[in-house]
C-alpha cells in the first residue's frame, strides 16, 4: 500500500480528510473529545462557582481553623470541642485509618483461611466455606454493619445490669473483660518506670527474628540443611521480653475495667460502633479475598505440584515454595482492590455512629458550617490520598514478588 501511494502525487490536504482519512481520523476524534471534556468541566466549575457566589458562599477554607464546638467519643489524639474543625477532621481521618487497618488485617486472615477451606477435599468443609462466601457477599455490607450493631445493642447487657448485689450480668475471665451494649471493656497495659527496657527488648527481638530468618535462609541455600525456624522464631518473640519483664520486676501491669458511676472506667473501651463496623467490613471483604485466594491457588497448574512431588518435596514445602509464590502474583492485585474497597466502605461508619472522617468533616463540620463544597472536596481528597497510598504500597510489594525474568 505504501508503495502505491509513494508513486502517486501527494493529494493536497483537504478539511474533509480529518474525518474520512484514517490517518487523521483518530486524532480528530481525540481532539474533539478533549475539547468537549474541557468545555464540560469548565461549565461545571464555573456554574458551581457562579451559583456559590450567588448564594453568597464563595469558596473559602477559613472555617477549618474555627473551633469545632462538638465532641467526638473516640479520639486517638488529644481532642476537645474547643479545638479546630481541622483537628476534628484529623481525628476522623485517624479513626478511618484505624478501622481500615484493623479491617484489612482481619479480612486477610479470615479470607485466606476460608479460601483454603474452600479448596478442601472434604466435601462438607468446602460446601460450608462456599455457603459462607455466597451468603455474605450477596447482601449489601451496610446491612451487615447495621445488623451487627443492632445485635450488640439489643442482646448485650447495659452497664447498669452489672450493678448491685445480685447483678443480672457478670464480667468474664476473672473480672477482666466486660461485654456491654456500649462496647467491650478490656484490660489496658500500664507502663511503669523500667518498662521501656522490656519494650526495647521486645522490638530488638523482632529485629532478631528478621535477621535470624535471613541467616537461616542463607544457610539453607548454602548447605541445604533445614532448621525448625518457626519454633525458634516463636522463642525469640517471647522469651527475651518475658525474661526482662521479670528481671525488671514486673514494670508492666494491667489496668482492669471496673464499674464506676454510669460506666465502666479503666481499661480499653472498644466501642460497639467500632466493633460492629470492623467485624462487618472484615467478614464481608473476606469473602472476596477468599475467592481470590481460591482462584490464585487453582490457577497454578497441577504440573507444578507434580513436578515438586517428583523432586521429593513434602506437601507443606510444595505449598510454601512452589504454589504460594506463584499464586500470590494472582492474589495480590485483587487484594489491593479489596483493601481499597474496605477503606472506602468504612465511610458507611455513620450508619452506626462511628466518627470516621465522613462523620466529622463530611458530617458534623459540613452541617454546622454549611461549607458543603469545601468539606466534600477535602473529603474526596482525603480518600484519594489514602487509596493512592495503599495501592502504591501494595504495587511495590507486588513488584517485589512478581515473576522476575532473568
Amino acid at each position: 500500500m505504501t508503495a502505491i501511494s509513494d508513486n502517486e502525487p501527494r493529494a493536497a490536504f483537504r478539511l474533509s480528510m480529518l474525518i474520512y482519512d484514517t490517518r487523521y481520523r483518530s486524532l480528530t476524534i481525540q481532539v474533539v473529545a478533549m475539547v468537549l471534556f474541557m468545555l464540560g468541566a469548565g461549565w461545571l466549575i464555573s456554574n458551581a462557582a457562579a451559583n456559590l457566589a450567588a448564594l453568597g458562599k464563595p469558596l473559602s477554607f477559613g472555617f477549618l481553623s474555627q473551633p469545632s464546638g462538638y465532641d467526638i467519643n473516640q479520639h486517638l489524639i488529644a481532642y476537645n470541642s474547643q479545638m479546630s474543625h481541622a483537628r476534628a477532621a484529623l481525628v476522623g481521618l485517624l479513626n478511618t485509618l484505624l478501622v481500615s487497618v484493623m479491617g484489612c488485617v482481619s479480612a486477610t486472615i479470615i479470607g485466606v483461611f476460608i479460601g483454603v477451606l474452600r479448596l478442601s477435599k472434604n466435601w462438607v468443609v468446602s460446601r460450608l466455606a462456599a455457603f459462607y462466601i455466597e451468603g455474605l457477599r450477596n447482601v449489601p455490607v451496610l446491612l451487615w454493619i447495621v445488623l451487627a450493631m443492632a445485635i450488640f445493642i439489643e442482646t448485650l447487657p447495659a452497664p447498669r445490669a452489672f450493678r448491685g448485689a445480685n447483678p443480672s450480668a457478670t464480667m468474664y475471665l476473672d473480672n477482666m473483660v466486660a461485654f456491654t451494649n456500649r462496647g467491650f471493656y478490656i484490660p489496658k497495659p500500664v507502663f511503669h518506670s523500667g518498662s521501656w527496657l522490656v519494650v526495647l527488648v521486645f522490638f530488638l527481638s523482632l529485629v532478631g527474628i528478621v535477621v535470624f530468618g535471613r541467616w537461616a535462609r542463607k544457610r539453607f541455600e548454602d548447605t541445604g540443611q533445614l532448621l525448625p525456624t518457626f519454633w525458634i522464631k516463636l522463642g525469640i518473640f517471647f522469651i527475651p521480653a518475658i525474661l526482662f519483664y521479670f528481671i525488671m520486676g514486673h514494670p508492666i501491669t494491667l489496668d482492669y475495667p471496673a464499674l464506676k458511676g454510669f460506666n465502666f472506667k479503666g481499661g480499653f473501651h472498644l466501642r460497639n460502633s467500632l466493633i460492629a463496623l470492623w467485624l462487618a467490613l472484615s467478614f464481608y471483604t473476606a469473602t472476596y479475598i477468599a475467592e481470590a485466594v481460591r482462584a490464585g491457588i487453582q490457577a497454578v497448574s497441577k504440573g507444578q505440584t507434580e513436578a515438586a512431588y517428583a523432586l521429593g518435596l513434602r506437601p507443606t514445602r510444595t505449598t510454601q515454595l512452589i504454589i504460594l509464590p506463584q499464586a500470590l502474583r494472582i492474589i495480590i492485585p485483587v487484594l489491593i482492590s479489596q483493601y481499597l474497597n474496605l477503606t472506602k466502605n468504612s465511610s458507611l461508619a455513620i450508619a452506626v455512629g462511628y466518627m470516621d472522617i465522613t462523620g466529622t468533616l463530611g458530617g458534623i463540620t459540613l452541617n454546622q458550617t454549611g461549607r458543603e463544597m469545601e468539606s466534600l472536596m477535602l473529603l474526596m481528597a482525603a480518600y484519594l490520598v489514602i487509596s493512592l497510598s495503599v495501592s502504591s504500597v501494595m504495587n511495590w510489594y507486588n513488584n517485589s514478588v512478581k515473576l522476575k525474568e532473568r
Binding site: G42, N47, Y70, D71, I153, R182, F262, G353, Q368, G370
Partner: protein, 339 residues
C-alpha cells in the same frame, strides 16, 4: 476573543441557573404543590399517620402555606430530613421551605444564608433519663453516656454544658430520633438530650412513658421556626406572614369554627377584616389573592387550635403553653400588626 465569548456564555448560564431558583413562589405555583422539609418522624410535630398522611404542629405550617399559596392544604409533598440533611435540602432547592424543629441561630441565619420566618415554638434543650437511674439533676450526669442527634444545636450545647460544668460524658452520635429511641430504651445510652418538646414527644411514643423523667434543667434557648432560602424576600414574606396570620387569628379570636361567619362580611374589627380580605388588599402585596390568610387559618385552625390539637395538654405529648402562650397571656407568641 473566542475564549471570552465562551466564558461570558458560561457566566450567563451560571447566573441563569441561580435566577431560576430565585422565584420560589412562581416555582411552587407552576409545580402545583409545595415541597416542604420536615423531620423523619416526631409524633406531634411531624409524623405520617396510619394512612401515610403527614400531620403535626410543624406539618400544619406547611399546610397553611400551601393553602395560602395554592388554595389547597393537601397540595404539599413532604421530604423527611434528618438534622444533617435538612440544610442541604433547603439550600439546594430540593425543598421550598423547612418546618423541622429548627433552631434560629446566628450562623444559620447569617452564614448558612437562610431566612428564619418567625418562631412557632419557643423551646430549650433538656435531658431525659430512666427513672431507675435515680438522677434528679443534670449536674449529676458526670461520666454518663449521652445520645445526641448529629448536625444539631443540641450537640454544640451539650459540649458547652459539660465543659462549663467540668463534667465528662461519652457522646453517642445518631442520625434520627428513631435510632435514638432504640439506643436509649436498650440502655446503650443513659441520657437522651434534645429540645424539651422533642423529649416530650419522644417519651409519649414509649411503651411505658412513666418510667422516664425529663430533668428540670433547660440548658439553652431553642426558638424553633420555619425557614427559607435567603435572597427570595417575597417567598420568605409569604411564609412569615402565614405564620403571623395563624398567631394573630388566635389573638383576635378567629377560629376554624367562626371563620366562615367572620369572612362573610366586614366585622367591627378592622384588623380582622384586613386579615380575612374583606378590607384592603394585603394579599395582593404578597403576590397572592385576598383570601390567602382566610385559607391558611381555615386549613387547620389558628395557632392555639393547632397547639391544642397536636402537642397540647390534652394530647399524649402534654405540653403546656408556657412560653408559647399569647403575649397577652404572659407568653412570647406575638405577631406584628396586620396593616
Amino acid at each position: 476573543m473566542k475564549k471570552s465569548v465562551f466564558l461570558g456564555a458560561l457566566t450567563v448560564a451560571g447566573l441563569a441557573a441561580s435566577w431560576a431558583t430565585a422565584g420560589t413562589l412562581d416555582d411552587v405555583k407552576a409545580k402545583g404543590f409545595l415541597q416542604c422539609g420536615v423531620s423523619t418522624g416526631l409524633v406531634g410535630f411531624a409524623a405520617p399517620d396510619a394512612n401515610g398522611n403527614w400531620a403535626g404542629f410543624d406539618v400544619s405550617v406547611c399546610r397553611a402555606v400551601a393553602a395560602a399559596v395554592l388554595g389547597d392544604p393537601q397540595a404539599v409533598k413532604f421530604t423527611p430530613t434528618t438534622g444533617k440533611t435538612r440544610f442541604t435540602a433547603l439550600a439546594s432547592g430540593e425543598v421550598d421551605m423547612l418546618a423541622r424543629n429548627t433552631t434560629w441561630t446566628f450562623t444559620r441565619d447569617v452564614d448558612l444564608k437562610f431566612t428564619f420566618d418567625g418562631v412557632n415554638y419557643y423551646d430549650g434543650q433538656g435531658f431525659m433519663v430512666p427513672k431507675s437511674l435515680g438522677v434528679s439533676s443534670a449536674k449529676e450526669l458526670d461520666g454518663a453516656t449521652v445520645c445526641i442527634q448529629t448536625g444539631t444545636t443540641t450537640e454544640l450545647n451539650l459540649a458547652d454544658f459539660f465543659r462549663s460544668n467540668n463534667m465528662k460524658y461519652e457522646p453517642v452520635p445518631i442520625e434520627t430520633n428513631a435510632e435514638a429511641q432504640q439506643q436509649f430504651l436498650s440502655g446503650a445510652c443513659d441520657v437522651y438530650t434534645t429540645d424539651r418538646s422533642g423529649l416530650a414527644a419522644t417519651r409519649a411514643a414509649f411503651e411505658k412513658p412513666g418510667d422516664y423523667v425529663i430533668l428540670p434543667e433547660t440548658i439553652s434557648k431553642e426558638p424553633l421556626g420555619p425557614l427559607t432560602r435567603q435572597g427570595d424576600d417575597q417567598w420568605s414574606d409569604i411564609v412569615r406572614w402565614t405564620l403571623n396570620a395563624l398567631i394573630s387569628a388566635e389573638e383576635l379570636g378567629i377560629t376554624s369554627a367562626n371563620i366562615d361567619e367572620m369572612a362573610k362580611a366586614k366585622t367591627k374589627n378592622p384588623e380582622i377584616n384586613r386579615i380575612l380580605g374583606t378590607a384592603g388588599d394585603l394579599g395582593g402585596m404578597l403576590g397572592l389573592d385576598k383570601k390567602w390568610a382566610y385559607r391558611a387559618i381555615k386549613a387547620g385552625g389558628n395557632y392555639g387550635e393547632l397547639f391544642e390539637k397536636y402537642i397540647g395538654e390534652k394530647t399524649a405529648i402534654g405540653l403546656a403553653r408556657g412560653l408559647n402562650a399569647q403575649w397577652k397571656k404572659g407568653g412570647l407568641i406575638y405577631s406584628p400588626p396586620f396593616r
